[in-house]
């Protein structure tokens, strides 16, 4: 157990270093983005630009700005968004991340469950009609871009059938259904394919043969031996994907008029909204490294043969 604590403490320290590096690289790259963060810069005179840069602290040298920014972060101050006048980035992010996270988690849970079911059905009835059907739906799910899928969902369920709201974020759970579905096809398809491959492999392995020989039911074999082992590689893939989904999708958010963070992030990059770019990047990478750590820890728990890195020595 002390090994684990040591390992986690070490990893936490690495996490901070990783985050620092990410922040430095992003800050540096961002510095070279073309143009200024002012949306009507076409009309700003050079003197005006100077005044604006002075006001937003952009005339200071690069190193100083980075230190100022980081000292702000430590105090919980993410700076002021330049797309809006005087709106703190922390406010913008905290308002926008909720809907994105909710949709991301819902899509992840729904997509993974459906994917696992499809994959399991495929694997248990390998090369049957059911397998073909399940595989095909996963493949089609993966080959249609999610913006096409979103528009189709909107057309079918909201416009033609009128079951669900067309868009907008004001109808509680029912406004989340269509965007969740649109987002869930990627985890669904990935989960289905992975589970199918892994399970087929596991179900053909010697220890499963042994379990069969011992007279265990196929269902028990499938769940206890098949699924559990198949979940391992899935975790590696789904962990980072969850973070990706939770930080929003430009297209789906736009199509369903959701006040999410994905659209805001792309816009902040295209408009040089430096503090928002940094804010989203930091949140995203913090979530990412945390999820990766959790996945690594889970690994050791699910499969004791895998020794967590560093635990060896």
């Amino acid at each position: 157990m002390t090994n684990y604590i040591k390992f986690i403490a070490k990893r936490l320290a690495y996490m901070i270093v990783t985050l620092l590096l990410i922040s430095q690289i992003t800050f540096l790259l961002m510095n070279f983005l073309p143009g200024s963060p002012y949306s009507n810069e076409e009309k700003l005179t050079p003197q005006q630009l100077e005044i604006m840069n002075e006001k937003y602290g952009l005339s200071k040298p690069f190193g100083e700005r980075y230190l100022l920014y980081m000292s702000g972060i430590v105090r919980g101050d993410f700076g002021i968004s330049l797309q809006f006048s005087n709106q703190p980035v922390s406010k913008l992010l905290s308002e926008r991340i909720g809907p994105s996270m909710q949709l991301g988690i819902q899509a992840m849970i729904f997509g993974t469950i459906v994917g696992i079911v499809l994959g399991t059905v495929s694997a248990l009835h390998q090369n049957s009609f059911l397998d073909a059907l399940a595989s095909l739906s996963a493949i089609i799910g993966r080959s249609i871009p999610n913006f096409v899928f979103a528009v189709l969902l909107q057309l079918i369920f909201a416009i033609t059938l009128k079951w669900l709201p067309i868009a907008l974020w004001n109808d509680g759970f029912s406004s989340t259904i269509l965007p969740t579905l649109a987002l869930s096809i990627t985890p669904m398809a990935d989960a289905a394919r992975f589970i199918r491959t892994e399970m087929i492999e596991v179900l053909n392995s010697d220890y499963v043969e042994l379990a069969r020989a011992k007279g265990q039911s196929e269902r028990r074999i499938a769940i206890v031996h098949g699924l559990r082992n198949a979940l391992i590689p899935l975790l590696t893939l789904l962990g980072p994907m969850t973070v990706g989904l939770m930080t929003g999708s430009l297209v789906v958010e736009n199509i369903f008029a959701i006040p999410g963070i994905g659209e805001q992030f792309v816009k902040s990059i295209l408009t040089n909204d430096y503090s928002t770019i940094m804010g989203v990047t930091l949140i995203y990478s913090a979530m990412l490294v945390t999820v990766i750590l959790i996945v690594d820890i889970l690994y050791g728990i699910i499969d004791p043969r895998i020794r967590v890195a560093g635990g060896k020595s």
Binding site: P34, G35, S39, N40, E42, K43, L44, T45, P46, Q47, Q48, I51, M52, E54, K55, S81, Q83, F84, S85, N86, Q87, K91, L92, E95, R96, G98, P99, M101, Q102, I105, Q106, M108, I109, V151, Q154, A158, I159, I166, A167, L168, W169, N170, D171, G172, F173, T176, V224, R228, L231, N254, I255, F256, A257, P259, E263, L270, N272, L298, I301, I302
Partner: protein, 570 residues
């Protein structure tokens, strides 16, 4: 047993995830409950139920395509925030449906001194802020001084540098008190200009020059205009439920407004919908009363009676990088480029978005002849024409002069739908009509395009320019030292003409007008730029919504006087 707790842990994580998401949805459910008063869906339902009763509440459900960056009139710099600020605030003058400047808070036209430098304007009596404070001339002085104060860093300040000492104050060289505006009394303003400007009265309709309540703004400090509680306007409506970054807010009728009897709407709900298709779907379902149209959607609705198209003052040009490309320094080549482009086909068959072919530098709707009242572009006529044969002939000449028969040019454009379409059309026109010309397209994000244009190193670029009130703001683009002269074109005759327009002509409107026309003709004769089209904003507006005013100057639509037609007679 051992395995079970591990599985249990997995389950726990899943459950935690669900609970977390549950929290998320609870939260939004709550917030949607608290905001249910302004949720569009419930509103429409309420509207439908009330249809039978004669006193249906007048509610307009409006959508716009982007968030409101600021509600501070001084800091506003884009059409979108102007369009919102106009709903809850008002200035001395405004532009009416005929592009004429009409007094609003002022009682009549300004009294202008002989030299054109001093404007005296009387305000209406008894004007009030929604919080009961009287609205006086001092509120204008405060707002204007704030506009030029470098600490405010207002992006649009330079547009109004025609006011005396404005530029010096903005650059920190003079104190704000030296600005050329003075409150003679509570209801009288005296404005001094740096130089005479025929279009100054029109520019007084700009939201940047609206009054601000000193006590309120000072109290809120930096937070002024960042949400509805921290904003105070003087217009027909009051801004409500705007949290500063959100996608929906609303306006309710202002009972303190001087002309409130002519305001029929009780409430306007605004919803931001960025995807055009979604906006149209909401519109067709009846959830909203307006939809913005763009791109391919427009051609589908041009025959619809609810379709509304308003020309904007954005001139889209094919800009030529004369200083950085040798071939473009050949005048015959430049003329050939302009001659082989069919603007009518571009506008009617490619863009199909209500835009107009642009045959000069100054677009339609900006200014009229001081004597005859004819529009600037109408009077100029079609200066730029399409003549493919002549273009080909000039291209042959150019090839000889250049000593080459192959020219490769890169065309830089933004990555918007319109820009992509236009650039592909231009590419095909130039390549098929001028054999030997190869056009390479670069559709890049706007910032990248702008960076390349401002470094003055490009071949061709698709540029747009929106001037303000005065035709010279378009013609100035080719003044040799102006930083937005992307071509770095230098012509002493032209520079002299523009300088004359800006200085000597200022007090003589008729000569100035003639010189403006002359300047446009002169610069186009050198084919320094290839005008393409004048853009348009396109909408669908429900036929039951009446009283919407459209204008080319400023924001395209004014909805404050709109009302919903009662069809209780049915």
């Amino acid at each position: 047993m051992k395995t079970n707790w591990k599985l249990g842990l997995l389950l726990l994580i899943l459950v935690l995830g669900t609970v977390l998401s549950g929290c998320g949805s609870n939260k939004t459910a709550e917030s949607s409950n608290t905001k249910s008063n302004n949720s569009t869906a419930s509103e429409t339902n309420a509207g439908k139920e009330a249809e039978t009763t004669p006193q249906e509440p007048q509610i307009l459900n409006w959508i716009i395509v982007s968030e409101l960056p600021t509600a501070d009139s001084v800091k506003s710099y884009d059409t979108l925030s102007s369009s919102q600020i106009e709903i809850f605030a008002e200035g001395l003058y405004k532009i009416d449906g005929n592009n004429k400047t009409v007094p609003v808070l002022a009682t009549g036209d300004p009294v202008i001194s002989e030299d054109g430098l001093t404007y005296s304007i009387k305000l209406r009596d008894g004007l009030k802020w929604p919080n009961g404070d009287p609205l006086t001339a001092k509120d204008f002085v405060f707002a204007w001084q704030r506009l030029f104060n470098p600490a405010t860093a207002a992006q649009n300040a330079s547009t109004h540098f025609n006011i005396k000492n404005a530029q010096a104050i903005n650059e920190g060289k003079k104190a704000a008190e030296e600005l050329g505006i003075e409150a003679v009394s509570d209801t009288e303003l005296k404005i001094t200009l740096e130089y005479p400007d025929t279009y100054f009265t029109a520019s007084l309709s700009s939201v940047n020059l609206y009054p601000q309540n000193e006590a309120f703004v000072t109290e809120k400090g930096e937070a002024y205009g960042t949400n509805s509680e921290n904003t105070l306007g003087n217009g027909p409506f009051i801004l409500k439920d705007w949290d500063g970054t959100g996608l929906n807010w609303s306006f309710i009728k202002n009972e303190q407004y001087w002309d409130k009897d002519n305001i029929k709407l009780d409430k306007i709900n605004i919803q931001v919908v960025k995807e055009i298709g979604t906006g149209i779907n909401l519109y067709e379902s009846g959830a909203v009363d307006v939809a913005s149209l763009s791109g391919e959607y427009i051609s589908q609705y041009t025959n619809n009676p609810e379709y509304l198209s308003v020309l904007t003052l954005t001139a889209s040009n094919l800009e030529l990088g004369i200083s950085s490309n040798k071939a473009l320094q050949n005048e015959n080549f430049r003329k050939a480029i302009s001659l082989v482009i069919n603007r009518d086909e571009l506008v009617n068959n490619v863009l199909i978005d209500g835009s107009n072919p642009l045959t000069g530098i100054v677009p339609k709707g900006i200014a009229v002849n001081p004597d005859t009242g004819t529009d600037f572009s109408d009077e100029a006529g079609a200066i730029v024409v399409t003549d493919v044969e002549e273009g080909k002939r000039l291209w042959e000449l150019a090839k000889k002069e250049l000593g080459t028969d192959k020219v490769k040019l890169e065309l830089i454009t933004s990555d918007t739908d319109t820009a992509k379409k236009t650039s592909q059309y231009l590419q095909s026109q130039l390549e098929t009509n001028l054999s030997g010309v190869t056009i390479e397209l670069s559709n890049v994000p706007t910032k990248v395009r702008f960076e390349k244009m401002m470094s003055y190193k490009f071949d061709l670029a698709l540029g747009g320019w929106t001037g303000d009130f005065d035709p010279v703001s378009y013609l100035n683009l080719f003044f040799s030292t102006y930083e937005h002269n992307h071509a770095r074109y230098k012509d002493e005759t032209y520079d002299a003409l523009i300088t004359k327009i800006k200085t000597e002509d200022a007090t003589d409107p008729q000569t100035r007008w003639k010189d403006l026309q002359e300047a446009q003709k002169y610069i186009l004769s050198k084919a320094v730029v290839t005008p393409l089209y004048q853009g348009a904003s396109n909408y669908l507006v429900k036929s039951k919504v009446k009283g919407i005013v459209t204008h080319n100057l400023g924001t395209p639509l004014e909805i404050t006087r709109a009302y919903i037609e009662q069809n209780s007679a049915k």
